[in-house]
Each structure stands twice: as structure tokens, then as C-alpha cells.
Amino acid sequence: MSAGKVRSGNDLSLLLCGEAGRGIQSVESVTTGLLKSAGFHVFSWKEFMSRVRGGSNSTTIRVASHSVEAPLGRVDLLFPFDAAALRHVRHRVTSDTILFADEDIIDTVQSPDGPVTAVVPFRKTAVELGNAVYANMVASGFIAGLFDVDFTLIGARVESLFTGPRAGLAAVNHEAARQGYDLARKIVDDGLFRSTIIPDSVVHDRAFISGAEAVGIGALAGGCNFVSSYPMSPSTAVLVFMAEKAREFECVVEQAEDEISAVNMAIGAWYAGARAMVTTSGGGFALMEEAMGLAGMIESPLVIHLAQRPGPATGLPTRTEQGDLQLALYSGHGEFPRILLAPATAREAIELSRRAFHMADRYQVPVFILTDQYLIDSYYTAIPPEIDGSPPISNIVETERDYRRYRLTPDGVSPRGIPGWGAGLVMVDSDEHDEEGHITENHQVRTAMVDKRMAKYAAMERDVLQPSLVGSEEYHTLVVSWGSTGPVVREALERLGRPGVSQLHFSQVFPLHVNTAHYLEKARRIILVEGNATSQFGRLLRAETGYRATDRILKYDGLPFTVEELERRLAALDGGEVEP
């Protein structure tokens, strides 16, 4: 053990790193649950390779006395489970980092400016207990011990994990956790590390929830009862969540033969009275584009969860990007209205996913929930949303004998009937059609139908979400963000503490709120922060409002922004230099 600087503080970053398939995720799951149960604010995010075994994956767990919802770049406590893992995260390690590992791993990093190291026999302890696989539980117990989590919480957690046919493994895992816990207490007693993070009583009532779970819960709250999709990272987590809940919530969940089938099923399901969603990513959504126009033309409600990943083509399948805004915005040929929602956090993902169903049903348009790998795979300590007692309001009507599906109305929204309920017939056509739904090539009818569909934009205005201004209303500079980038921008600006610099965040990215231009016109400088290479939202803002970004901070390496990185890049702009 090298002579140590004690690392303490009210906000720590733990990094777990190792091969795929070797249990990093189980350590993350056990540890984050325990830390949250102990009353700490916890936020975790992960980056991983597109492979089932091997490679190097990492999870960063942030533990704090206060609410945290953004990634730190720095690593305070590092747990590499093999030597390759250490190399994978070496660039994030500083002399302030404390590294906990088996001796053979530590031997590979001894250098004067290297991290503080502490030999912890995770694997050795596990092997002595009978199997190296218990190292995960030794590490989980160890981390709990470092943070002085009550050991009874660990016992309960182990009990809950090992039930049924696995119950026989509870005792040995319990012992592994105990030994890990004791190893940590010794480190603390030796003065190498001491946590000064204070439990916060509010944490007990908060949810600990991933972005994927949040989208699923929001969809269920919105009445989703039909999911048809084709597996594709990172959107699959939502499909899996819905499949798990299908029985309890009387939901149809079907894995289609391809994304084209999936989205046509969803539209067919809405036609027959269901509330359907597809969950997809990148190229999967590209295949669904054909049916966007179908939804637009037949005025079908549709909810699309689009979890973005870096493209083009297969791109970086398991990484993150905000690169599909324009894809979603312009998807489908022809002109028709749509709504794009982009949640900033898990809590907002619940609210907006629920809202997506209401908006789709109310305006009979496709509604996107635009997330990304970072949001979907991150875990947030979140205030649970209020889910009131009333089921979702459905706008379906019982048809009468002379029912016309596309009856012209002032706001463009025709009462939506479904087959089999009422005396009328429900006729929909992907061709241009008349009020009944029959094919037409009458140019006056064509014009009237286009006007009808586009009139919905005016009708929707009352339901467009305002952008949120974070910071003073007396600003000269606006830092603009959208979707999952919101919290990291907020924290970076808090750290910088520059007067006159505020954040304008958008959780609805299309259509934009009418006040958007009003916010922008007051700023002398507009800085766009986006996880893409071309400032897609900046272009949209300019197209819609005429205001142009003066600076752009863009990132497209497949990783999310970290707080420190963004702080540094924002500070660099003050010198007038725009980084590439």
C-alpha cells in the first residue's frame, strides 16, 4: 500500500471496470442499491463495448450528499477487475485516485505520478471461498464497507438476490460480502480513505431508476398496451422491460421479424383501438421511416421511442450520441405534423413518455420520445412522478352510421373511430383520400386534406412544452441544451458561476414553443451544446426562429459530456476561442 492522501468529500466518483460478462453489472446493481438504501444520492452511467464477453467495460457511480444527475470525468475510487481494464481507464486516473485491486493488477501501474494504490484481495478471497466468481460480491461488500453502509442492508440485499433455485448460494455470497466489508473497514481504520458523504433523508422516498425503466413506466402510465419492436441496442432495454410487465399490465409485446413489420403492427394496433409503441435505434428507425408517412397520411397516433446511438450505418452500437434529431424530424416522405420530446432525466422520461401517448392520441400524429444510450443505461436517484388514479383519457369515439374518419374540422383533428365499435365504418388509406377515407385524385380535396393535417400544428400550440431557463433572467449569454445533455450543462454552469450566463434547455424539440425566439433575442451570445457533429438542434433553432448560435460545443466520440470537460470547454470560449 502506498502512502496515502486521504480522499474524502461530499461527492465521489467510483469507477468499476472489467471484461464484459464477468459481473461488473452485478457489482453495479448491488452497490448502487446499497448506497441508495443508505441514503446517499447515487447516479451511475456506463460505457461498454459491442461484445458479449471480453473487452473492457466501465460503470461510473457517483455518490453524493446532494442530488447529482451528471457524469464526472474524474475518478476518485477505481476498481479495475483486470489489467486490461486498468489500461482502458488509465486516462481518467490521476494522483488523487485511489485504486483498489488485487496485487497482480496493481503491479502493472506503479509509477511516481500514479494513483494511490491499495491492494485488496478480491479474487484471492473469492477463490478461498470456493470460486473466483464471488469476487463480485466481495467487491460489493467492500464498497459498502468503504461508505460505512449498515451491514444488515447488505444481508437483506443478498437474501433478495438469491432466492428460489439460487437460494443455496445465499450463504456463501453473504460471507463474500462480509469479508469484502471487513477488508474495507480495515482500509478506513488505517486512514487511507474516509467517506464524509452525509446521508440525505429525502433519498429514502426517491426512486432509483434507469432511463429505460423510466420510458417503460411512463408508457404504462400513458396506457401503452401494445409494443412491437425488433431488438437493437440501446433501445432493447425498453422492449425487455415491457415484456417483463406484459402479463401484469395486459400488454401485447411482440418481437417482429423486422422494424418495418414492427411499426406497421403498431399503426395497425392503434387503428383497432390499442395504444402502441415501438422502441428502436438508428438503423432500425431508418427502416421504420416508410411507415412514418403512413402514420402521417392516415392520421394515426404512434409513439416511437428512438434511443439514439452514433451512426451512420452500424456506427458505434453501444455508445451514445444526439445524432438522430434530424432523422426523426424529417423522417418519412411528404409533409405531415409530428411531435418530438427529448427527456433530460429518468424522471422526465417517465413524464414525457406518458405525455407522448396523450399527445399522439389527442392530435393523431406520430410522437417521438428521443433518448440516447447514455440516458437509457444510466441510473438516476429521482423524485418519483405523481401518477394519479385516473386511467389515460382515450379520445376514441363510438361511430355513427354516416361516420367519416376524415371529417374536416377547424383544428384538423377528426373524431377517431375504430372498427367494431359503433354503427359506422372506419376507412383509412395511404393514398390521398376524401373525408370518408376513399382514394381521391381531386385536387381541391387534396388541398383541403393537406390543410387539415397541417392545421394540427396550430392546434398543438397550447400543448407545446416551454423551454426551461436555468439561471438569471438577466443574461447576456445563453447556453442551449436539449434532451439528456441538460443536467451536465446545468452543473458545469453552476461550477463556472459566471454572471449573465444562463441555460436554456429544451425537452420538447419540435414543434418549438412560441416563446423560443423571445428567449434567444435577449442573448448577445448563444452557445449550443450538443452530442453531435453538426449542431442539429442549432440548425433547427435557426430555421424556426432566425437566431443563430454564436458558438457550438459539440461531442461525437460516442461518450457523454462530463461535467469537467464541459466546464473546461465553456471556460475556453470566454477567451474567444472555439474548440474544434
Binding site: D205, E213, N225, R247, E250, I260, P384, G420, I439
Partner: protein, 286 residues
Amino acid sequence: MKTGLFDGGDIDIAWCPGCGNYAILEALKKALEEVNIVPEQLVMVSGIGQAAKIPHYMKCNFFNGLHGRALPVATAIKTANPGLMVIAESGEGDMYGEGGNHFLHAIRRNPDITNIVHNNLVYGLTKGQASPTSLRGFVTPVQVAGVNLEPFNPLAVAVAQKATFIARAFAGDHDELKNLLVRAITHRGYALVDILQPCVSFNKLNTFKWFRDHTYYLDESHDSSDRVAAFRRALEDDPLPLGLFYEETGATTFEQTFSLYETSDLPLFRRKRDMAAVRRLAEALR
């Protein structure tokens, strides 16, 4: 003329005079009258092409969607509301070409829908190019040296994939066609009826007379519960057998496999979300 229950009323039909589609339309309307349902309970799902316009010429609910995509839509409609009668109908280009993957997987799912395919061995709406079932050597404006691909064999594929009802009909034989449609519609599960029909405008090879000369009806010697025999018949290409190739009764349908229909057959739109359960779910994630 007496008005039938499924007659579409005064509408300008876009088919060519003498098109086999008229005969199919008439046989289908008669078959529907025989099976004792009302237009309000029927949903016709079609894609794009001349055949796919058929729902417009009938009295029924319809979903005239995208080229090749009728089967996923039909499957979903039946799943969302099993009380509806659902028929997916289009041409062979739509069902076997553009929608080929959906055709394979609709069979695997076995939804309780009827899949009617107008098969005229040519593309009509796009004016005379080869279709997936065009015969080798068939010359078109695009296949200028003649079709050089093996014709798609929908019946053999359906037998191989264990479709639960497989039939081939000829548009020129009203009664036989109608009777096959009645059997297909009343079959519980996925039912394929491939209907040979002449295209008077673009197929000068497979004419009305050609079909007469190159088809025959399966008789009592064919056991439609014998899948191997059905496969053997499906491989015959000249003359082409007509009639019921194969039927399996009692197979579980796709919609029956969903847990929500175990205890209640209420369609999805009649069910109310249990918000207390959603709240409990959110609260459990602590």
C-alpha cells in the same frame, strides 16, 4: 340488380374491363354473405397495387396501407381486437415480393386471419413488369430477355412453414373460388388463398385459356390433412393443382398466445389501465 350486404355502392372502379379482380370481388362478397357476418365487424387490410384497391369497392372497414405491409397490420388488428374478422388481401407482388418477409413470419405466427392473394404473374399497376411468380422466359419492358429467376412458389413455402390452411383457386371458377374462400374465412388460424387470375392488359402469356389448360382440381384422392402430400402437390408446376392443399385444425392462434386473453376476450380498447399498479411499480424502484 339486388344489392348485396357487402356491395360498395356507386363507386368508380379503377380496374381494366375484363380484369380477373371483378370475379374475385364478386366471389368474396358472396362468401362473406355466406359466413354470416356484418360489414361493421369486417376489416379488410390491403397494400398497394390493383388488387389492393379491392376494399374500396366493398362495404367494410378497411386499412389500405403501404405496399407489402398488409400482413403486419392485419396481424396487429386481430391481436388488438380478436372479435373482428380480418382479411389481408393484395396482389402477389405486394404479398410475396415487397412483403415477402412478412409473409414468412405471418405464417409462423398463425394469426386468425385470411390472406387472399391475387396472383396474375405480372405487375399491373406499374404496367407490365415481372412479378415474383412470373414464369421463366416471360418478356417484359424490364425483363427484356425474359425472366431469368425461378418463380416464387407460395404454396410450397406455406406448406414448409406449416401454414394451417393452404389453397389455390382460379378466378374464372366462381363457385369453386367462393367455396374455397368460405372455408378459408371460417378456418381458425392463418389461411392462404392464392388466386390465379388473368391480367388482360399486361400478361399475354398466362391468359384465361392458358390457366384453363394448365390447371386441374385436386380430387378426393388428395388428403388435405397430409402435409407431405400437400408439399408434393405444391411442387407440381404444370399443370398447377387447384383446391385445398392442406388444413390443420385446432392449432393455437397468435392472438391466443398472449396472456391478456387467457381470462378475458375483451379487446384492448375496452380494458382500463390499473393506475394503482403503475404507481406501485414506480414506487417499487427505490
